[in-house]
Assembly symmetry: C3
Homo-oligomer: 472 residues x 3
């Protein structure tokens, strides 16, 4: 019903409708779409336009008047015109005095103007009550009623009553208003629709960088080295073998990077003896993108799982298997089952499966609709306890799998360590330090600090108020 | 807590409670469940009933009176009786004058009556303020407090104030009201609980039809042909081999069908030179079910992945592998590794894995709670850019895998093309036309048209107002 | 934007702000975090504190006064102090008369005190209007603005108007208020943040118990028996082989346990001839945790799928395969393809894949954001019809896979039945009884009973009002 309702939904009859008239300045795409939707929701709509002629595109039930006439008919005026043309509102200042002006404009790039459009409008017309709203909704989504994307409408403004009036309209249009505070938030709201996954930016660039590094590292050791010294052309390793070496390494390192800032925070708090001082900026930023790092790690882990599972389907692998069996036959010697090998192979597979299972569980609980249904204690239990368990299992998986290469000199081609050794540095460091931190002699003072105790209370005098973000 | 709270939740003491009394006409299942829930939320409830005897099933704290007496005690009266019995309300018209009547009735089939029950009620009692609500909630869900299904309550009515009163009750019962406009929307709201995935209907029937066609196509070529001409009984292909041929074909075709209507829309807009004219109806409908087509395509792709991954576990496959190895041994000839084969096998696997990975990403972002947290630009980036990338990867996967059969005459059993060739027609067409459309000489006028420019402004005079749905 | 907005969000200018002053008693972590957030949302905040000196940690724009002075400035007072110190409020009773007191306290363990903190506060200050709120939100989440966990704020109180005022503040802080009724609900709300997945407890303990039992059962039959009687050390079976036997058994049994209570309910209703009597308590509880049982079953099924798919990668399996091929070569006899084996192997794989596919579909529709978008009929269709289909497919998968062992005497080591036979008892029983229940001669009276018909209406006289939970 959500999908196509607006097409069917009837216009409200005039008789018993008590909704207040809304005025819209501007007859562009968005102004028309918004007006159409409002009429459907029972609001009488009047357009203010320079020319009252171009009425054929405007919703049938709407009136079109001059700006001054239209403004007089309504308490709320939606300014569906571009910032460059705001000047023409100045002569109307008297009529607009006391009215609620809804700024719905967007810019073409981030921070295009020194002040937000809504603040600029409020400066031009100091007697009006300016509210920022609707800029995050697309005209297309409004009109088609599909709204696959967000239904959230961010609202801000200095006048609480005006904001309430606009939020009521938002609710009547089946959208969800979200109060973002005073008009100073308008800049941020105007930047919002221009953003392309801002908190994902750092984790994604980090992952791309590391992935490229490990890819070329493997390429050098597995393809180029083999070609030069063993005359084997294994260029097809680029398609599956190397990605399947890079993916698990990336997954493990990124998962460890999710838990590393918490370790740093604990050490800093222990060292300072107080939680009432701001963390360094890089640590704050790192902590805010832990969820993203974790989800990218999960993506790499999933790719690793699928890449591994297709192994038996690869031409190279079936050729290698056949070769092994044929050589056994020709040498007339059947290899016995090595119990150690069976144990190693089965246990690294089992560790990997369990680790991946917990990892997926973490991913599912980070879905907004799931995390909304758990309390704080449950959320911390899953993200912290189960998260560390997943890290331990994945590290053990890598250790058991790659263990045999650590001491074998043939694994050090060009004196470079195998990629498994590189992958284990960060996770092992995190786990070792975490292990130290849960010792009672370290854990007790840390818990005290986090409950507000200060080793040296003078410190707090210098600090601004901030709750340290290491609480998780 | 959401789950079992209502069982524990205490009834409000009478002393300080300021909620207004609610009257319920009818003591059936739903009337009782609603009354019970309202009492829990602090509303005094009075039942209107023909007989005041059958009180043992009614919530303890509720009063039971005659209809007239009960109605006088409350401003809001919930009509929990069936449409057939609405007539008996006519004698009460005077008492009900000005009261808010909440119609909660449902019908047994879609569009059972010419007008909705709520409109019928409003006609019978023109002096009352009728509001449609609560019909989408089940008595069982209300009572048990589990509410695993939807918490949304659609509300509509001509009187805004009456609607607000009802929506406040909805909120007090921990449900989410959704304002659907005037009483004309009641028909749609009454049809809603009777619907069984209406927007899924066309995509599912299309998929079933195509699946059946491809299944019998494969059955003819792979099982029947082989049986007739080669005397091999491969009937067990029905279980895995053929489904694993049909699934990828379906996934690829359906994914291409997601992007085909956008192509059509662009061509139509370019041809017409304006976006201010309605698309043909079939295109409109097609565009509204793109998400469903995409999700069904994802289901087929997932099945294809699992069917492929179990391949090495199949008795037939291990028999074929053994046979190959044994024949190599007996002929005393070891086949060398073909670099070309290794490249082909590895690259179609890698392409498929990456395509499927993007496909799953598209599926996750179409989850309501995820798409609610992205802005319009991010949503379009994922659904359009990543979607096309997934289509390209999946098409390449099929091309590399099936490529060797295109030119081989043995692949044309009964002069019919192999199924891979059929699968590639739509996706290749979509990709070729899309490639043409992104050329600057085509893209520039199209962008202008979508921004509102018209080649021949006269056209718009004839058209109704509509924003073309090709904006995505 | 949701993530880091609060850091950037500007404080509201004093000029045009019309929000009412809020007073906060207590300058602890939570009091400060809440005050900070309120100032960001435009509320003037005044702190009541014993000492007005420790002002350096308090938000800059807040005033700090004595308790009495602060209380006089605001209509809403947030009590951010611990229950033990509530006594000191008694001298302020006169000033606090008629004010809205918001109790935000939490306890350290479930049901720590006989009455909830909020009720205790209401007893101490009978003239004040106590509202319970905010206790489910963490100070850290409020301050950092991340709010990855729940945004829901449970609110309860006896005074409707006071509750509305608090809920407006909750909304202004971008949180979602949820009205839980009168102050008697405070105990439950105070227990909420202390809970750790309460409805998951029984399903998880049941699963752990059954898993342990089946694990040791398999260990005895597969590892110990083999070691004693066949002198084979298969200890490495512990890593993959045994888990992959336990997981599918658990998944099947738990899935059957999801549908078993519905069967019991139907039988009880048929026997009693009425739906107006409460089910036994164990059945009620069982029914409320069906979703959790189903999700745990899905987890086991997923593990089974991955454990199965890694089979070809196991050292033991490739050793066994090689041994088989080599023995064929050495005996110079090539085994022909057994059509029956191919059929059995392919069909149990296909049945399992389809069953798992439906199972995953059930899991996805139980995500809160998906189930919110389907109506009651659709939800029942998926959970009941598709659920039974999944159960049938999974049972058939096990029957076809394990079928050959039923009649083979070698499968009965130590006279104990194979684990597959144990696994099939519950699902087969459920399916057989369900099959009986859908016969018209049984289904018709059951449907009548569920629509309210009673065989022996006297019964209802004794019963309290309850809608039986078997409706689903």
């Amino acid at each position: 019903m959500n999908k196509n309702s607006s097409n069917i939904m009837a216009l409200a009859p005039n008789t018993s409708n008590k909704r207040e008239t809304v005025c819209i300045f501007g007859t562009g795409d968005f102004g028309r779409a918004l007006g159409h939707k409002m009429i459907q929701s029972g609001y009488p709509v009047v357009y203010g336009s320079r020319s009252t002629q171009i009425s054929n595109l405007i919703p049938k039930d709407a009136e079109v008047l001059s700006h001054a006439e239209a403004a007089q008919k309504a308490a709320i005026i939606i300014i569906a015109i571009q910032r460059q043309h705001y000047n023409f509102l100045i002569p109307l200042a008297e009529i607009l005095h006391g009215k609620v002006l809804v700024d719905i404009s967007n810019n073409l790039k981030l921070n295009q103007y020194p002040e937000s459009n809504a603040e600029y409008l409020a400066q031009l017309l100091p007697g009006s009550r300016v509210v920022k709203a609707f800029n995050t909704v697309s005209a297309w989504a409004l009109q088609s009623g599909t709204l696959d994307a967000s239904r959230q409408v961010f609202v801000c403004g200095d006048d609480v009553e005006a904001k309430q009036m606009v939020m009521n309209i938002v609710r009547a249009l089946s959208l969800t208003p979200l109060d973002k505070g005073s008009l100073l938030a308008a800049q941020e709201i105007e930047n919002y629709p221009l953003q392309l996954f801002p908190i994902w930016k750092f984790p994604i660039f980090l992952s791309l960088g590391l992935t490229a590094f490990f890819f070329f590292y493997c390429l050098a050791l597995d393809v180029i080295y083999t070609y030069i010294y063993e005359r084997n052309n294994f260029s097809f390793f680029i398609a599956i073998t190397i990605p399947n070496r890079v993916c698990p390494v990336m997954a493990l390192i990124l998962l460890a990077l999710v838990y590393l800032p918490g370790i740093f925070a604990a050490i800093i708090q222990l060292y300072r003896g107080t939680k009432y001082r701001r963390f360094p900026d890089w640590l704050d930023k790192w902590m805010l993108c832990r969820k993203q790092l974790g989800l990218i790690a999960l993506a790499f882990a999933s790719l690793h799982v699928v890449f591994t599972l297709v192994t038996p389907m690869r031409a190279f692998v079936s050729w290698r298997t056949s070769k092994g069996i044929i050589s056994q036959v020709l040498n007339n010697k059947t290899e016995p089952l090595s119990n150690t090998n069976a144990w190693i192979s089965d246990s690294y597979l089992a560790l990997g499966i369990l680790g991946f299972f917990l990892f997926v569980l973490l991913g599912i609980t980070s879905l907004p609709s799931v995390s909304n249904n758990v309390n704080w204690r449950e959320f911390r239990f899953v993200q912290s306890k189960l998260g560390y368990l997943a890290l331990i299992l994945c590290t053990a998986h890598t250790l058991v799998y790659g263990g045999k290469w650590f001491l074998s000199p043939s694994a050090y081609k060009w004196y470079l360590p195998n990629i498994y050794i590189l992958a284990l540095i960060v996770p092992c460091a995190v786990l070792v330090v975490k292990f130290v931190l849960i010792f009672p002699c370290v854990d007790k003072p840390l818990t005290q600090i986090r409950q507000g105790w200060e080793r040296n209370p003078k410190h707090s005098e210098q600090s601004n108020y901030i709750i340290n973000k290491s609480a998780v």
